[in-house]
């Protein structure tokens, strides 16, 4: 009996030791946030917006703000700026709000904005190509920007996270910058950002939390368990299969459709894929609805084109070939691809239609799409050899792929031109398929010189439709972004831009 009691006592001690300590009252002034979206791999480690994609961290974690911001329809609204005036096709005049201060108490005036933008175009890789600035003049709260050529989407580009207005005189030591946001960074590493309240915040709503810790946790299961055992107050990037664990009273979920799309580009250097019928057949054989409903657990929307339906030039305005296996088979037959040897795969001149599908694993949905596409295409007799590797850039460089699938935010600035110039036009940096269309080049040239949202939207629709008619790429699904938080967290909402996260409204009740 003594032995039994001793054993039970030991087990009791062990169990009590393993449990979390819930006896202390929860600290309502500190917010701990876990995310998969911060780190070196995402090129956003640090808070200096003039470095690669670090601006996404500056704006996401409430350190910096841009001149204009996007509302939930991805339309521009003033933020640090009060108003603007388009003087001519090359000149825009922006008035900065009079009451904005940096977190160090210094007033944000035209001169501070000028210094920041000048530093941006000298140091950033993408900004100078987007903005094409030839000169910036400051006078009081007025900033006048002149461009070397027409940049109709200039204000959109200035609202890109790299456009966060920071005090460049305060320096960039230890990856810390001085911004205008509700929180200021006190410690920044490649895996964590420690923030404290900006006591000088200029906004009408004052930040409510004293301290915020942003932790990079790239493993979805670790993130799930950290959220379950109460180590985190909120998380971003949970595996879809884990979301149902938080569908209860203890937690809240905020979801929104973003312009992040899962796409696959056909390599036009592959002889078999130079045939429109083959590309169309493959596009028609992808079961996007079931991919979205089952494999993404409904956390997305089946895509038609590159842009989601909430944008005026999005999926409601374009059309693609529908899911139709018989139609796809007919197209292949029309092009002479027939299963003559009965091995289940179509062949021509004694060669099976076998394609190399390249993708990467750091976006958890991409390998799922690859396996789904592999099974889908098998039904029409196309053999897909999947290569899901994070070393994909080597394969891209060497041209060792026939289809390349990736995830991309197509309209981070609410404007379509960024996507076309980066991924679609001939010679674009990310035109993995080497797609080259004279019509696309003509339309892009027109878009580049067109002002006015409605006109630009009409051109973007034409370009998207041209891509779909040419079957240059297929678009599988638009991602739904999800935040999971404890039920006492308020003021924390997912935004379609993908980069507004921590705001002054955030609080723990």
């Amino acid at each position: 009996m003594k032995k039994f009691l001793a054993a039970m006592t030991s087990v009791g001690i062990l169990i009590s030791g393993c449990g979390s300590d819930n006896s202390t009252a929860e600290d309502k002034t500190t917010f701990t946030y876990g995310t998969v979206a911060y780190g070196v791999a995402m090129e956003n480690a640090g808070t200096n917006p003039h470095e690669s994609y670090s601006g996404w961290s500056t704006i996401r974690y409430g350190i910096g703000e841009t001149l204009f911001k996007f509302n939930e329809h991805m339309e521009l609204e003033p933020w640090i700026a009060e108003s603007f005036a388009q003087i001519d096709d090359y000149t825009v005049k922006i008035k900065v709000k009079d009451n904005v201060t940096f977190s160090n108490g210094k007033k944000v005036d035209g001169e501070a904005v000028k210094k920041c933008l000048e530093h941006l175009i000298v140091n950033h890789d993408r900004a100078p190509h987007d903005l094409k600035i030839s000169g910036i003049a400051a006078d009081g709260q007025i900033v006048t920007i002149t461009s070397t050529e027409k940049v109709p989407a200039l204000l959109n580009y200035l609202s890109d996270p790299y456009g966060c207005i920071i005090d460049v005189d305060a320096g960039f030591e230890d990856k810390i910058v001085v911004g205008t946001g509700p929180y200021r960074a006190v410690k920044v590493t490649d895996t964590q950002i420690d923030l404290v309240r900006n006591e000088n915040y200029w906004g009408a709503v004052k930040p409510k939390l004293e301290k915020i810790i942003v932790r990079s946790i790239t493993d979805g299961d670790t993130l799930t368990m950290a959220m379950q055992n109460g180590e985190l107050d909120a998380v971003q990037g949970l595996p879809y299969s884990s979301l149902k664990l938080f569908d209860n009273d203890k937690f809240k979920i905020s979801q929104v459709d973003t312009s992040r799309v899962y796409q696959a580009a056909f390599n036009f250097d592959t002889p078999e894929l130079q045939d429109l019928n083959v590309r169309r057949a493959i596009s028609m054989a992808i079961d996007k609805e079931n991919f979205t409903k089952v494999l993404l657990d409904g956390n997305g929307t089946a895509a038609v084109g590159p842009f989601p339906a909430n944008l005026s030039f999005g999926d409601n305005a374009v059309h693609a070939a529908p899911y139709d296996l018989d139609g796809a088979k007919n197209l292949l037959t029309e092009s002479g691809w027939i299963d003559t040897d009965g091995d289940g795969y179509v062949d021509k001149d004694g060669k099976n239609l076998e394609l190399r599908y390249l993708t990467y694993t750091s976006r958890q949905e991409l390998p799922l799409l690859a396996e789904a596409a592999q099974a889908n295409l098998k039904k029409i007799g196309v053999k897909l050899n999947v290569n899901a590797t994070d070393n994909y850039k080597t394969f891209l460089r060497d041209g060792d792929y026939d289809i390349f699938s990736k995830a991309i935010v197509t309209a981070p600035t609410g404007d379509a031109e960024y996507y076309f110039t980066s991924h679609i036009v001939s010679g674009a940096v990310d035109n993995a398929g080497h797609y080259n269309s004279a019509e696309i080049s003509r339309l892009e040239n027109e878009l580049h010189n067109t002002f006015g949202a409605a006109n630009r939207s009409a051109l973007a629709i034409q370009m998207s439709q041209q891509i779909l008619d040419d079957c240059a790429l297929f678009y599988a699904s638009h991602l739904k972004m999800s935040f999971v938080m404890k039920n006492n967290v308020a003021g924390f909402y997912a935004h379609p831009s993908d980069y507004y996260e921590i705001t002054a409204e955030l609080e723990k009740k």
Binding site: G220, T224, D287, V294, T361
Partner: protein, 265 residues
């Protein structure tokens, strides 16, 4: 012999399943049926389905082919190759012996799994590269054992007799040395099967082994990792298959050691 009989039967059954896997699966292990995705075990899918609606029992059965046969093939290669190197080194000695043994020292200086992860990563993943990574470091153990055994055998009177009878070095190695070191090598290999299966599955679990949609137990566990709390059958089935197989082969290795080890007779 009675002591080893149950283990032999169990291991034989597993190898039989692995060899004839394609005839034993109730469904096509690669056929996706999204309408039945993540169905818990029921009368149709005895072990449930995965996120693509594929029958897990069929995938575990076909996965045995990938996992076990790959492990056995790898083991055959490293044990034969390593033993030959060790035997040659032990028998010939000299600079070749010094060079190869120092080389094996270099490989032995690394923890086996860490080296395999690094090598498989550098080679670019895939089941073949994972096996190659394990082979690169796996041969050293066999080379060491066979060399030390050969050094002992080399001094035996029957080796001198063979030499006096004019048998060539190659003949002595094949006819007199290798048959006499085969027992301990076999026991080591039998004890190694479980470890190799675990390591191959481990590399696949880390995404450095079998590529999708190949059914491989480690890769299947990795695919089901995020569903441990919501659809545990996806990860439990291949996990249990690994546990059972490794346990059986380890027991077989122990039994073989008892039978073949002279000291225990």
């Amino acid at each position: 012999m009675n002591k080893i009989f149950p283990q032999l039967i169990s291991a034989g059954a597993i190898i039989f399943i692995a060899i004839f896997a394609q005839y034993l699966t109730p469904f096509d292990p690669y056929e996706q049926n999204l309408a039945r995705a993540l169905t818990p075990p029921d009368s149709i899918n005895l072990l449930g389905t995965d996120r693509y609606g594929r029958d897990i029992l069929s995938r575990v059965i076909i996965g045995s082919q990938t996992t076990i046969l790959s492990a056995l093939a790898l083991l055959a290669v490293i044990s034969i190759f390593g033993s030959l190197i060790g035997a040659v080194c032990g028998f010939k000695g000299g600079k070749l012996d010094t060079f190869l043994m120092r080389l094996s020292d270099v490989f032995l200086a690394f923890p086996q799994m860490v080296f395999a992860i690094a090598a498989a990563g550098a080679l670019g993943g895939g089941l073949f590269n994972a096996a190659l990574a394990l082979a690169l470091i796996g041969w050293t153990k066999y080379a060491r054992i066979s060399r030390s055994l050969t050094l002992t055998i080399r001094k035996m009177p029957y080796i001198d007799a063979a030499k006096l009878a004019g048998t060539s070095s190659f003949g002595i190695l094949i006819n007199h040395v290798l048959p006499n070191i085969a027992g301990p090598i076999l026991v080591t290999a039998a004890l190694d099967i479980g470890t190799i299966i675990m390591e191959l599955a481990g590399l696949s679990f880390l995404g450095l082994g079998a590529m999708p949609p190949t059914a491989e137990w480690g890769a299947m566990m990795n695919n089901g990792r995020s569903m441990l709390q919501t659809a545990s059958w996806v990860i439990l089935a291949p996990g249990f298959a690994i546990f059972l197989t490794v346990a059986i082969f380890n027991l077989l290795g122990d039994a073989l050691r008892d039978v073949l080890d002279v000291k225990n007779r």
